[in-house]
Amino acid sequence: MSKDLVIALAGNPNCGKTSMFNELTGAKQHVGNWPGVTVEKKEGKLKFEGRNLTVVDLPGTYSLGAYSEDEVVACNFILKDKPDVVINVIDSTNLERNLYLTMQLLETGAKVILALNMTDEAKKKNIEINIKELSKKLNVTIVPTVATKREGINELMREVIKLGETRENSVHKIDYGKDIEKEIQLIKEAISECAVASEYPAEWTALRLLENDQYVKRYIGQKENGEKVNDIVEKSIEDLIAVIGYEPDTFIIDKRYEAISNATENCVKKEAITEETMSDKIDKVVTHKWLGMPIFALIMFFMYQFSISFGNGVLGGILGDGMDALGQFLGTTLVSIGAPKLLISFITDGLIGGVGSVLVFMPMILTMYFLMSILEDSGYMSRAAYVMDKLMSSLGLHGKTAIALILSSGCAVSGIMSTRTLESKKDRMVAILISPFMSCPARLVVYGVFVAAFFSDKKIWIFNEGGLIIFLLYALGIVVAILMGKFYSKKVFKGENSYFIMELPPYRIPTAKSIFVHMWEKSQHFLTRAGTIILGVVVIVWALSNLPFGVDAGSQHSVLGMIGTFIAPIFKPAGFGNWQSGVALITGFAAKEAVIGTLGTIYGVAEGPHLIAAIQHSFTSLTAISFMVMTLLYVPCVATIGTIKKETNSTKWAVVSAVVSCVIGWVGAVLVFQIGSLLGFS
C-alpha cells in the first residue's frame, strides 16, 4: 500500500502558486494579482498514480518571519503540522528574491522541492538558469514548470512522491559564521537545560530568537522557564553586536542573501534590469502624479454606470419581465386548479414577490463582479492603492486601506480579510472597522429598486440620473469610511502608523476562464443567500404578515405590522416612519438585500406583486434617498459582523462596529431628510 501524502505549497505572492494549486487539484479558484490574495487555508485533494494526495495552499509570503499573520500561518503549518513534502513555487523571472523563502524553508528541516515556475516568461526575458547546477548547489530537487499551461506538473508530482518516500530531510546549511553558530549552540543548550516544552526544533528556534523574531520570542516567553531563555538570547544579541558591529538580525539576512548569490553565481544568466517593460509603460500613465486619480475615479465610475445601465437596465429588465410572467402564470394556474388562497399568496407574494425581487438583480451583480474581477486579475488593484495613498496618508490612514475599501465594495467580508496584509495592528483595526461602510452589491439591490421607482429614465447631461445617485451613495460610503478612519486612527487607536510597502505585480491579461471563475465565485454566495437567508426571511415575513389568523393580510394589525409600528417612530425624523420600512430594516440585518425581499413580500401580500409601484406610493424621492442612506450606513450584515469578531478576536469591537454604524446611519438619514426638507425637496 502506498502512503497518502500531505503536500504544502509555499511561495512568494504572485509566483503562480494559486495557478499551480488549481492545476494540481482542479479546484475552481481565482488567480488574484495583489499581494496576499490567498489569506485562507485552502485544501484540495488529488489522485496521482494510485495515491491520494492532499495539497494545502499556504498564504503567499516573502519570508517565514512574523510580520503578518500570513507568515505565522505558513510557518506554523510547516513546523507544527509537518507536511510530508513542501513544494516551494518559485517565479523564475525573480529568482534571487524567491530563493530567500527557500533558504528559510530549508532551515525548518522540512522536505522541500522547488518548482521553478514561469520558465516561459523567464525565457522571454532572456534569463537562463542552469537547473542541474543550481540543484546541486542548493542540494534540492528542482523541476521546471509552467503552471498555467500544465507543463512539468507530472514530473513535479513524481519527484514529490519520491521525496515523500525518503527518510532524509532536505539538508542545506547556511554558514552563518562561527560567532552566530556559537550563540546558536548556547541558546540551544539553554532551551534544553530549562526544559522549555517547545513544539519547534531547537536549532530553528535559536536562530529565530537571534533574529529577534517577535512571535517566537513571545511563544518562548510564555513557556515555563521561557523568560530565562529569552534573557540568554538578549545577552547573546548584545555580545554579537559587539563582535559583528550591528544587529545580528540584519546580519543573518545578509548571510542568507550571500548564500543565495553563491548558489546562483554561475547558474543564472540574465540581462540588466534597465529595460522598460510593458508594465512600466502602463504604470507611467496610471500612477501619474496628476492623471492617476482621475483615471482611478473614471474606472470606478464606468464600472458602476455599466453595471447599472447594462447589467440592470438591459439584462435585469429581461429577467424582471420573465419573473413577472412567471408570477402571473403561476397565479392563474394555481387559481385554475383550485389551490387554497393562502398557498397562492405564499407563492406569488412570498416567493416571487420576495425572493424574485432580489433575484432580478443577479445580472447587475454578475456584471459588476465581472468588471471587478478584470480589475483584480489584471493587477490594477495595487496601483489603485498607490494612487489612493496620498489621500489616505493625508488622513492618517495606511495606503493599503484603499485595497480593503475597494474589495469591500465587492463584499465587506473579503475586504476585512484582506487587511491581514497590514503589518501594524493599529492600521489593521482601523481598516477592519471602516470597511463595512462601503456600498456592496447587496445594498446595490436596495438602491436598484428605489432608483427604479424614482429616478429611472431621467438624464443629467449624458448620465443616467439613477446611476449618478448610486455613484453619490458610493461616494458617501467612502467619505464616511474615511472620516471614521481618521477618527479611529487619531482618537481611538494610539501608536505610530507603519510604513507603506507593497509589491506592484506585473500586469497580466486575465484569461476569460479565470475571470468567469472569479466572477462566479464572488456571485454564487448571492444565489445561495437568495435560496437560504432571503428565502427564510421571506417565509417568516410572509407568515408574520398573515398572523394572527383572520387579520387583514399585510396590514398594520398583523404581528409584523405591530413589530414595525413599534420601531417605526425611531425613523420618523428620517422621513420613513412607516412600519414597512421598520420591518425591512430589521431583516436587513440578516443580509442587506433582505430589505427588498421583505418589502416585496409585505407589499405583495397587501397590494399584489408590484413592488416599485408600492414603493412610489409609500415613499417620496427625498425619503427614498434618506432610506438608501440608512441602508448604506446602518448595521453591517451578520456575515460581516461575524468576520469582524473573528478577525479582531474581540466581541467588543464587533458590537462597537454594529452600534456605531447604526447611530451613524440614523444621523445620516435624518440629516438628509431634514436638510432636504428645508431646501424644499420632497
Binding site: T250, I253, I273, D283, I501
Partner: protein, 74 residues
Amino acid sequence: MSMPLNFIGIGKLAEINSIQGGDSLCKKIMEMGMSKGAIVKIIKNDSGPLIIKVGETRLVLGRGMAQKVMVCEV
C-alpha cells in the same frame, strides 16, 4: 557617497549599502529583495511613496521607509 534612497532621481540606479533602524519593517523590505548590494532603479520619486524596481520586482515604498535605505548612486 552614501545617501538616502529618496535622494536619487527618477530613472537612476543605486546600490543598497545598508538599511538603517532595526524595526521589523526594515527586515521585511530586505526580505522582499532590498538586500545589501542589490541594485535599485527609481521609477517614481515625486510626492508620496516611491516606486522602485529591484530585480523584476516593482515595489511601492513609503517615503519614511526610503529615508532609511542608504544607497550609492551607480
